[in-house]
Amino acid sequence: MVKFKVRVEVWLKDELVDAEGKTVEEALKDLGYDVSGVRVGKVYIFNVESESSSDVERVVVDICERLLANPVKDKYFVSVLGHEV
């Protein structure tokens, strides 16, 4: 088994309203910044034990489908940063 370092980003789907993004945008405008289109997402970094890099990708996607994201309203990005040698 090899220890892989992976990264997952979870975002609300574009067509859904981002209440947090809306509030942060109004706050920044209120502070005088000229900003627009604020979206807020979550990012996870963790290590996963797995046989091969192709296998680790599958495991992380499974992790996202089962816990980190809800396919109905979220989109997510998976990247394998590297593995321990």
Partner: protein
């Protein structure tokens, strides 16, 4: 003349009414006002004797608890607030209010410590904590703690998800020396909680639950005194004999009473 105390609120603030009730019980005349009215100069902050920033989820606690409300105050009202504090008038920040005072640097104090030297991080349990806790007050502060005798153990409920007090060791040492720590989480028998959950409900360094600024007139605390104003609010009032419930007040009442007395003696 009654102390005139202002409670400010924004969208998401929700402990303002019971806080007003506690202050009125302690003899103050209270006004609850949306921060916008102060920013639009429809109301003059200096016309009040005391300021309270109540608990709640200002702006949904997005980004960080109290961060967005603090950013508005910092950019639109900071001069008025600083001069209000410098004039010695008492400012009390409860739960979300404490987080706001920390974010704008009024606690522990801009002059000496700069904008941000302490912070209230998410609880170690990773969850929202709503429970009653035991606290040891530091009676040396005359503004808020006048009625707490040194050996007294008091009880109040906490209800937050970002209440873990953190600061550098240097800052903690200064707080200890200058007696700026006003409340600490303790065991039921009064011995220090020592970070043990659930007596220390969030993992705060040195079990800190409430602090004040260098001058002692600005205080922030995570527990809710307005939810421990009357004895019928206590979790065990049905099993303990508290004498006639009408007049016996809870531990939280005495912070508001001390604040009002201080205003009458020092401000008016």
């Amino acid at each position: 003349m009654k102390p005139k105390i202002l409670i400010i609120r924004v969208a998401g603030t929700n402990c303002d009414s019971e806080t007003a009730r506690a202050l009125e019980e302690a003899g103050a005349s209270v006004q609850i006002v949306h921060t916008k009215r102060l920013i639009d100069r429809l109301l003059d902050l200096s016309s009040f004797h005391g300021l309270v920033i109540p608990g709640g989820f200002s702006y949904g606690d997005y980004v960080r608890a109290g961060a967005i409300w603090a950013s508005k105050l910092y950019s639109k009202l900071m001069d008025e607030i600083v001069s209000f504090a410098d004039s010695g008038k008492p400012i009390l920040g409860i739960c979300n209010g404490f987080q706001v005072l920390v974010e704008i640097g009024l606690l522990p104090g801009l002059g000496e410590f700069g904008l941000r030297s302490i912070s209230l991080a998410p609880n170690d349990s990773g969850k929202f904590e709503c429970r009653w806790v035991y606290l040891k007050p530091n009676g040396s502060n005359r503004v808020f703690m006048k009625y707490y005798t040194p050996d007294r153990i008091i009880r109040m409920p906490v209800a937050h998800s970002e209440g873990k007090f953190i600061a550098s060791n240097y800052i903690l040492k200064v707080f200890e020396e200058r007696k700026l720590i006003l409340l600490r989480y303790v065991m039921p028998n009064g011995s220090p909680a020592g970070g043990v959950y659930p007596f220390n409900p969030n993992g705060s360094y040195m079990d800190i639950a409430g602090i004040c600024n260098v001058d002692g007139n600005v205080m922030g605390l995570m527990p809710h005194p307005e939810r421990a104003t009357y004895l019928w609010q206590y979790p065990d009032f049905t099993s303990k004999i508290y004498g006639e419930l009408e007049y016996a007040y809870g531990d939280g009442y005495w912070i508001f009473k001390s604040m009002c007395d201080y205003i009458i003696e020092e401000i008016i």
